[in-house]
């Protein structure tokens, strides 16, 4: 009997898991089959959130993990492609009209991918910004074109638990 499997939807740039599904059929469907145009990631403190566009996501069939089903965002894919629990966290996200500062605990190594998705409001596509980390406890991501106001922000850094927060631009 083969081992039970699950499908993880993860950020293609940071390997952060943000959704999980199981099914009877074997094999991995397309990302669009599992998320449509995007996967909504909701803030634990509000009714809103950010829809991460499908073109930033990938899907992989992996061995089943009950922990990953319970809390997908606490997991990521390691270099072998296996799902592992990750403990480093994004402690906060600070926003201005020109940049988003991601505060990390502990400090990040250099040259890791950081991705920020900003919910631009109704009837507007989410905005995506990326940066490479330097060895520090923060990473600055330059942003442009974010409408002034308060927006939900999804931040993902390779090796860190992703975070949904709200910021003023």
């Amino acid at each position: 009997m083969s081992a039970k499997k699950m499908l993880v939807v993860y950020m293609a740039g940071t390997n952060a898991v943000i959704g999980v599904a199981t099914r009877r059929a074997a094999g991995a469907p397309t990302v669009a089959d599992l998320v449509g145009a995007g996967l909504p990631v909701r803030s634990p403190t509000s009714e809103s959130g950010v829809a991460v566009p499908a073109d930033n996501l990938a899907v992989k069939e992996v061995d089943y993990s009950d922990d990953a089903v319970r809390q997908p965002l606490l997991h990521g894919l390691d270099t072998s492609g296996a799902v592992v629990q990750i403990t480093p966290t994004i402690s906060s996200v600070t926003c201005t009209s020109t940049k988003i500062t991601i505060n990390l605990s502990p400090a990040v190594a250099a040259d890791k991918m950081a991705i920020v998705i900003v919910d631009a409001g109704p009837n507007r596509a989410p905005l995506k910004f990326t940066a490479k980390t330097v060895a520090a406890t923060t990473v600055d991501v330059t942003v442009t074109g974010v409408p002034p106001g308060t927006h939900d922000v999804f931040a993902s850094v390779d090796g860190y638990v992703s975070k949904v927060d709200t910021g003023s631009f």
């Binding site: 599904a21 909504p40 909701r42 634990p44």
Partner: protein
Amino acid sequence: MTEVARPSFYEGQVLSAADLDLGQEYGRGALARHERYLHTPGIATGLELKVDNSTGVVQVRLSAGLAIDSTGRQIVVDREQTLAPEELDSQGVLIPADTDSAVKQEDRPWHPVFLSARDEGATPPSLARGCGSGAQPNRTNELYTLTYGFPGDVAGDDTAIEVSDGPQASSSARVLIGYVQWDGVSNFANAQAAPFNNPPAPYAGVRADEVVARSGTLALRADLGAIRDKHPALILDGDKGGEMRFGVQDDKGKIVTVFSVDAAGNVFLRGAITGPIGKTSIWAESGTVTDGMLIPLPVGVPQDQVDAGQILLHITVSPRRTADLRPPDKTTGTYIKEAFECRVDGRRAYVRDRWFDVASLTTPQLLPAACDYVIVASTSGTTS
């Protein structure tokens, strides 16, 4: 229209050459009508084009074999023959792409090679000549002619023929036996039976509205030459009440069944059904998804048919109740969990748990959660 006649003889009859010829023609005509109306034209055996590079110069050889043309005539190539490149050149079918040095060899066109029947009266041996009649041919050699076409030419079937006609020796009743490629200068570069984007040289087929297996087992085998291994076959087996089986063969011709149906209608299928199969098709899937995910469609259900209303989805979700003492991000404290949200919008699941810290019941925390689902898809109108 020519009536079919056969010779009949009587004692004392003076036999003429025409009487003897009629005896032959009756048999030839009957065979040709069988070949023409009960078979499709093509290669019956052999007639393979092979490239020989052993001398350092490309030579294309045609193996011995038999073809049947569209008039029902059998064309026999009695020995291996080396194709003459100058004949392709002299037939005027070369085009600029054959000789343009700027064209890569693999991009040069493929010229079809055709085989057609030809009759040739044979000169009789000197000792067999008749008295006073002079030297007349007393036999006909059934020969063949190889011709080349322009790229894209097809064998065609332009020979006008009556139902009663016998075999013809017509250059228009030609059989495609393969393709050759010019080397850009003065020789062949390659030869194949079915180069990419060209119709393959056809094998002779059968025209039949009923095929009867006297043994009780009828087999259709898609062998490749004499190779059966890994090629598909369909078996109608009269044993055990009757069964139809499909699968690939092993090297002995025994099939590994992937699909079968018996006389009672019981179906065995090793693979999956990937499309609608009738008015009462139903597919199902079940599992678990986390907040925000789409409930996966059962395998074989295309989204476009769901969007078009041809397939209906029936989805039920329930909160996934697991024995958690506290939220995943907490290591201490006493908490109460309730399923706060568990619903489906289209195929998207929205699932959250609400956690109450008993030390601070007024500030619950909402966290994404997971739900168990069952999704049933049915062709429109078949379930309620």
